[in-house]
Structure formats: C-alpha cells, structure tokens
Amino acid sequence: MIPAPFAYARPTSVDEALQAIADGGEDVKILAGGQSLIPVMRLRLAAPETVVDLGRVAGLRGVREEDDAIVVGAMTTHSDVIADPLVQQWAPIVAQATETVADRQVRHRGTFGGALAHADPAGDLPAVALALEAEFVIAGLSGRRTVPAVEFFVDYLTTALEEGELLVEIRLPKLAGTWGMHYEKFNRVAQAWSIVAVAALVRREGDRIAEARIGLTNMGPTPLRASAAEAALAGVPATREAVAEAAAHAAENTSPSSDLNAQADYRHHLAQVLTRRAVIAAAGL
C-alpha cells in the first residue's frame, strides 16, 4: 500500500521547521528517518495532512563534546551513532544497543532522535537513555527547554514533546571510565524487537558495587528503572552471587504486557535473568 496524500515541507533550519509545523494544519507529522513513520503511513494507520521532513535541517546531525557530556543531534542515524568515536569512548552502551536495532538498511535511515521521540516500549534506545540519565533538548516557537529522561517518557508512544515541538538534541553524560555499562537484549529471531532488554550501568568502588542504574525495555508502557534492584545492589560485594540476589528484584513495580511474543509472567522472569547478566557484564565480573 502507499500512504494517503499529504503536503510536504522540507525546511533547512530548526526555525523554519517549527514554522512549517505551526503552518501545517491539524495533523502534522515530523519525518526523521521514516523507519517507523513511513510503515504506519503505508498501512494508513497514520494519514497526516502535512509531513515536515527534517532531512535537510542543518545542524541536527552528528555528535559533539560539551564539558561533561556528549551531545547527539536528533537526526544522527543509527549507523553514524554506532561508528561515532565520542559515543564509543563516553557512552559505549549506546553504540552496543543501537547495533541490535533492526538491520543494516533500517540503521542507515533511522535516527537516534526519531527512535526516542517515537518511544516504542520495545524500542532499545529509550531504556538506555533512561539508565544514562540523558537530557532531552526540545525546541518550540517560544524557545528551548531541557527535559530529563525520567520526565521525557510519559506513556505508551507518548513523550513530553508538545504539539509543535521538535526534539533537537540529546545530552549523554560522560560516564564511561567511572561506570561500566552493558546492554542485554532478548529476542527470538534476527531483525526482531526486544521481548525484554536491560541496560545496566555499574560504578564500582574496589570490590564493592557502589551504585547501579538499570533501565528496562518493554516491561511497561514506558521504559522503566528497576529501582528495587538498584537499591539492592548499592554497597553489595562485587560478586556474581550478590548480583544474582539483587537481580531477583528487577521485575518489581513493572507492568509488562502479554502479547504474541510473551506472557507477562515470562517477561518478569526475563527481566530478572537479563538484569543479572547485564549487571555482571557491566561490573566486569
């Protein structure tokens, strides 16, 4: 099938893009890599009046360094994120998780900002951004604001982006070096979305785990932090046994769905197993 007709705008700056969105009528869709939007438009699950293509907006693509953070432009493609030296140095878990996204063709088009703005509960990057405590820079006609990850993901496919706003960049704190990190994804076949996945960050002090941050993919309508497991990990000896004990709390306060891929109780089980594996890897055990 082909999409329903729409008006097409191709702005070249953020200001032009915001104006095009404001002028686009009732139902405007922003087009980033199109790897989620074009499929739903083709199935006519979305039929926007206007599509505003960010493909030519200058300055939204690429990664730069800013004090204690690296800043990823919303339009940086998955394949550029994977290859980026700053990402590899300061937030290698982002590259590791992005490598598991879809396939080469989709990664050549799909973008970091698009995947986060889409906020699919099975998407791999939201849980990683949440565990990293990333910050989201949002532009609107009245200026820019910065939203922490925990406030960005609001509900199923819903973010803090208001109508008319644009996600422009994402700030990732430079944690590598002090923190170990690992993304553990479970899916059944190639090119498939996560059934459950876990992003783990661990800061060790000698032979103890000082702090851990754990992001869960597909354990609820939004990405979640496994707060009970994080609390249980704080201060424990850095051993596989202690990690396994703490990881048993990983599914507390989660509300995964039951669907064709897995029942909720199976997802609870997976969250615990994958948290154990991810924390062990992140802690270098």
Binding site: M1, I2, P3, A4, P5, F6, A7, Y8, R10, L31, G34, Q35, I38, P39, M41, R42, L43, V51, D53, G55, S79, A102, D103, R104, Q105, V106, H108, R109, A190, Q191
Partner: protein, 164 residues
C-alpha cells in the same frame, strides 16, 4: 507534485512525483527499473533494497522526494560493461537463489556489507543480511555465495595492488 533530480544507475533524471510516492514505486513505475521488487508491506523483507548515496536502504521505506539530489544504485546498475558484479556471479555459481524474488535485495545488502567488511565470517554474513528474508533457500547457499564473492573480490584487489 514535487520536482526531484536523481541519478539512478549512472543516469540523471528530473521528474515530477507526488510526495507520497515511495522510492521503489518511482524506480519501478516511472523509470521502469523493475529489477527492484516489493515483497512486503511492513519494511521487513528487504527485497526492495537499493543503495542511496552508497548505503543500502529499503526503497519501500523511503519517499522519492527524500532521494532528491541523491544517487541511487539498483540491482540493474551494479554490473560493469555487460559483466556481472562479483556478488551476482557468486549467487549464480553457488546456487544462492531458487525462485529469485529475494535475490536483488540480497545482492544489494551483501554488496553493502562487503564494503564495510571485506572478509566477513559466516555469522557476520548472517547478521549483515538479517534485513533480507528468503522463503526458498534456507540461506546456506546465500551465505556461501557472499563468502565466495568476498574471496574473489579480495583476490581481485590484491591483483590490482600487485600490478600497481
């Protein structure tokens, strides 16, 4: 309608398209490049894979207007001077196809993979073509074909190097 300029398989085109026209439909219906096929409605099968500015993409998941100003290579443009591309030749020789429907996309994805990784392991080939589905072969001979092509392209490059 929007006007686009694209270079497809080495030829420049300027055309009017509807913004909703998918790149694959532009290639097939407006340019008659029917070597690129459509195998699904969900961006999963990879049969429609072409190169957009040198990178493999699913042409059913790109709007023709997004290709404005770009260079597109389809399966029809990979051979040189009437000779098959080494990956095409290897698919032929290693029986990397049965019905052949997935083949244009498989070959375009494989060429893209070999540009990044000239000597992929079996696992790397399987991961490299994970975006392409084949209902016939069971993939064994496709993997063999990609590895055979890698070997041949590697040797060819060494040959040129030695002469230089």
């Amino acid at each position: 309608m929007s006007q686009i300029s694209v270079r497809v398989d080495g030829v420049d085109y300027v055309d009017e398209v509807e913004p909703r026209t998918l790149l694959v439909h532009y290639l097939r219906e407006q340019l008659g490049k029917v070597g690129t096929v459509v195998g699904c409605d969900t961006s999963n099968c990879g049969a429609c894979t072409v190169h957009l500015d040198g990178e493999a993409v699913k042409s059913c998941t790109v709007l023709a207007v997004q290709a404005d100003g770009a260079e597109v290579t389809t399966i029809e443009g990979v051979g040189r001077d009437g000779a098959l591309h080494p990956v095409q030749k290897a698919f032929h020789e290693m029986h990397g196809l049965q019905c052949g429907f997935c083949t244009p996309g498989m070959i375009m994805a494989s060429i893209d993979l070999l540009a990044d990784n000239a000597d992929p392991s079996e696992d790397e080939v399987r991961e490299g073509i994970e975006g392409n589905l084949c209902r016939c072969t069971g993939y064994q001979n496709i993997v063999r074909a990609v590895q055979a092509a890698a070997a041949e392209m590697g040797t060819a490059e060494m040959g040129t190097g030695a002469q230089a």
